[in-house]
């Protein structure tokens, strides 16, 4: 992961110096033509991406901001301008504040539950143990399965009449049987278990890749110095895994803020807020599309966008900056800013 991040700026800085060298050697006409060709090349290569980005990312953001100022049912052009009324309603609606709280809980608990477990799994799978590749595949399988199948499968197993409660009863643990997804006191924990099960494979693969990138010489030197296994992991693996962990945490945070599919599939359209598992995205779909309040739904989308953007930029600025400064060359870092 971090390797791809490194590779891009280096490549561009490399080609820059090449072009400078070529320009000096050629006569004037050739130089103008080369300049023009360079611009055409940039335009042709980046044009489609820029057009797609503007049309499908930037334009919708502005349209959402526009629609968010209207009370609009989605028919015809919006006419009923209400200023910031939608935003006032959003931040006074207990259901939205609950959804925001659930997102925050999922965000923190995802980091707390998956991070240490993923590092531990990766440490284990980095050893020479029997059946290592099989375990690697098994841990990664949940991540590959589609969300719809995961959601449907878990929701069937966790029903009150479902497989888990049957299993508990048959094992003599009937007192533990409960309504895993409908009980508002435990539903969000059930969701956390499912999310962790689903996404830990991805974290483990990232951590493993990060561990592969740590030079063997360091371990050898530490071993010669007589460091114990745990000391080596604590003082070599963990610090050098830092960039990987921080990038994983970033992806996990973004995923937590945007969580929609699992909740929507398991709890359906209407009961997520009652069960205490609603997220900002399920709130948006329920209050915007299902209720037919398209103006309001757009305002919710803007709020989600702003919250995600602020968190992402803050994280980039204060946490990921260390990695770009440390991992990239000095020159590439300057170009980045």
């Amino acid at each position: 992961m971090s390797e791809t991040v490194n590779a891009l700026p280096q490549r561009s800085s490399g080609s820059l110096s090449l072009r400078g060298g070529a320009a000096k050697a050629s006569p004037r006409g050739d130089r103008a033509r080369a300049q023009w060709r360079k611009r055409a090349e940039i335009a042709i290569l980046s044009g489609p991406a820029i057009i797609m980005f503007l049309a499908f990312v930037i334009f919708p953001v502005f349209m959402a901001a526009y629609y968010g100022f209207f009370r609009w049912k989605g028919f015809g052009p919006p006419t009923n301008f209400i200023g910031f009324q939608n935003y006032v309603t959003i931040f006074t609606d207990q259901n939205f504040l609950d959804a925001l709280r659930h997102n925050g809980f999922i965000l923190v608990m995802s980091l707390v539950m998956q991070g240490p477990a993923a590092v531990a799994f990766a440490l284990l799978l980095n050893q020479n143990i029997k059946g290592r590749s099989l375990i690697r595949v098994l841990i990664f399988v949940p991540y590959v399965i589609s969300e719809v199948i995961v959601g449907t499968g878990w929701s069937l197993m966790l029903q009150y009449q479902g497989a888990l409660n049957d299993l508990l009863t048959n094992m003599g643990l009937g007192w533990m049987a409960t309504d895993w997804i409908a009980d508002p006191n435990i539903a969000i924990w059930t969701l956390m278990v499912i999310i962790s099960w689903k996404y830990i494979g991805f974290a483990v693969i990232l951590m493993l890749a990060g561990m592969q990138g740590i030079p063997d010489e360091l371990y050898e030197a530490a071993a010669i110095d007589g460091a114990s296994y745990w000391k080596i992991q604590r003082w070599i693996t963990l610090p050098l895994l830092g960039p990987t962990i921080r990038v994983w945490a970033f992806l996990s945070i973004i995923g937590s803020l945007q969580l929609f599919d699992l909740v929507y599939i398991i709890w359906g359209q209407y009961v997520a807020s009652t069960a205490g598992t609603s997220t900002m995205a399920t709130y948006m779909v329920r209050e915007g599309r299902l209720a037919g309040n398209y103006g309001y739904g757009n305002a919710v989308a803007v709020v989600i966008f702003v919250i995600s953007l602020v968190i992402a930029l803050t994280y980039q600025r204060f946490v990921l900056r260390r990695d770009t400064a440390g991992a990239l060359t000095e020159k590439a870092t300057k170009e980045d800013r």
Binding site: G162, I266, Y270, V271, T274, A275, A291, Y296
Partner: protein
């Protein structure tokens, strides 16, 4: 709360069909739905029906009913064939076929003789005697307020809200669109 209504033996209708639940609040489609969920796929012989009991001190008329009293409409500029088609669908023979196929109530009064299921006959008798029939309340309120109403009721049944919360949820929804 997350139990589905009509899909599979674990749904609320399925539990009724398999004698795992005693009763549920449902509409006149119930005998047909339950029949499709019984172990042998035939209609449930001991399925019965009773009107929603009057609430002590309530102002409502116990004989009044709620239901899908909505219908189909033709667009203003629709061709005459639209009316013809609706009349065709509502004709005596077609409604008889519909009621038999789905074990439910026909929309045409003249087709009521084909109803043989005892539970449905009870429903039909009460329906014909009802002081008035009104549209399902959530349908009448529309997607926005209707959904908020349903959500408030679910909250209350789950122990997470009071009747006053239903009213405030409905008011919040009205502010949204």
């Amino acid at each position: 709360m997350t139990t589905s209504a009509q899909q599979g033996a674990g749904s609320s209708a399925g539990q009724l069909a398999n004698h795992k639940a005693a009763m549920e609040l449902m509409g006149a489609w119930e005998p047909g739905v339950v029949a499709s969920l019984t172990p042998n796929g035939k209609s449930l012989p001991d399925l019965g029906w009773f009107p929603f009991p009057a609430v002590t001190g309530g102002a409502g008329d116990p004989s009044a009913m709620m239901g899908g009293s909505d219908g189909f409409a033709c667009r203003k500029n629709a061709p005459a064939a639209c009316v013809d088609f609706l009349n065709f669908a509502a004709s005596k023979t077609n409604q008889e076929g519909y009621a038999k196929a789905f074990q439910t109530l026909p929309a045409n009064q003249q087709s009521q003789d084909v109803v043989t299921d005892p539970a449905l006959k009870d429903v039909l008798a009460s329906y014909n005697k009802a002081s008035y029939v009104m549209l399902w309340l959530d349908t009448m309120y529309g997607q926005n307020v209707g959904n908020a109403l349903n959500g408030g009721v679910v909250n209350m049944l789950a122990g997470k809200g009071s009747p006053a919360d239903i009213v405030s949820a409905v008011k919040t929804a009205a502010a949204k669109g």
